[in-house]
Symmetry: C2
Subunit: 221 residues, 2 copies
């Protein structure tokens, strides 16, 4: 984590992180889903779409940038520092098989956020040494997300990360639904990322609001 | 085309452009193929690999950057301005469904090269208006490249582009082999890009040298 900056203060205040997936959103388009989720109170949006070409992804990123700015939410692009820069996003999210964090940092500079998916504590520590701004911790539960081939890390990893008192925020992710979110928070998470639980909901704004309500019962400071 | 610069002078002098494809290279690894092709005299290399994840692609880009520097050849990354920047490549090549040229230019700055695949004269003109540095003209003949779903543009488009006297260099591409390269040059091309014709060859350096020899019979100035 770099010195305090407005964007990093907003990151600290972010508790509910929406990750998009058109294919899990039924007939609703991702941009529509994002708008409804923002109305419901998500603090941060990651554009993660596997089925679009770069031209389509860029067009969508521009739209999501506008919406997130309107709702004062952070906007992160999955995998692609170039599309993050071109669309004016706040940062990028990297998996373990994506560009290494130092390479992405070189492109993005210090003013952008870099998040990293981690599946064990050594990956978490690596991310911190690489100056990542936040990490994902998961998948906590089995998920429907196709590209996710990592077996669930279970609540054990959440507890482990919580105990480690890492110097950057972590978001628990992976199969977190309204019915199990409280056990994740009880395991020590204070920030969560949600895909299907929100994008697959019938009433997106309402469901997002319900996650927020539960999160408020577990303040992070 | 921007004001003269060393990199753009080298582009003008580049006549034989190798585009990589591990899957068409038999058992030979792309890095090996690139090295042999450079020995044979290719002036420019584009890293275009569909089967690698970003981490692997980045590692390979670093290796190809070293080799191309050693042989004083230009190095272009397909599709990805971020990986081009992170690996110190000379530029990026964009297809019609990739990031728009102005978005890529914003990320790359004026000192990097941007090439664009074009399949008709209106795309060629669009690329020039967007300040692309060179264009691809093709596919001239049917190709084995899997991702290429565009029907052949035939020698007619090569002749059309040649007649149009565009203010930037163009590379004819698509199914160009030793047995048909001369008809492409006779149609007005002075620069060619080759995939299978080189990466699929038994003796890569020798075949690259043969392309060069034929190209020398058709000077560009």
């Amino acid at each position: 984590m770099f010195a305090h900056s407005p964007i990093r203060k907003r990151l600290l205040n972010s508790r509910l992180y929406l990750v998009t997936d058109q294919e899990l959103s039924g007939n609703r388009e991702t941009v529509k889903t994002v708008e409804q989720a923002l109305r419901g109170g998500v603090d941060m949006v990651q554009l993660r779409e596997y089925s679009l070409n770069d031209s389509q992804l860029f067009e969508m990123a521009l739209k999501v940038r506008k919406l997130t700015s309107k709702y004062k939410a952070l906007f992160i692009v999955n995998n692609r520092p170039d599309i993050a820069l071109a669309s004016g996003a706040d940062g990028v999210h990297l998996g373990q098989d994506d560009l290494p964090v130092p390479a992405a940092r070189k492109i993005l500079g210090k003013s952008k956020l870099i998040g990293v998916s981690t599946h064990d504590i050594s990956q978490a520590k690596r991310a911190i040494k690489d100056w990542a701004d936040y990490i994902g911790v998961g998948p906590v539960y089995p998920t429907q997300t196709k590209k996710n081939v990592v077996p669930p890390v279970t609540l054990d990893y959440v507890r482990q990360v919580n105990k480690a008192r890492l110097p950057i925020p972590f978001f628990a992710i992976g199969g977190i639904k309204l019915h199990n979110v409280e056990e994740v928070l009880k395991a020590g998470a204070r920030r969560i990322a949600v895909v299907t639980g929100i994008v697959g909901a019938h009433k997106v704004a309402k469901v997002a609001g319900e996650y927020k309500k539960i999160l408020r019962k577990y303040p992070w400071v």
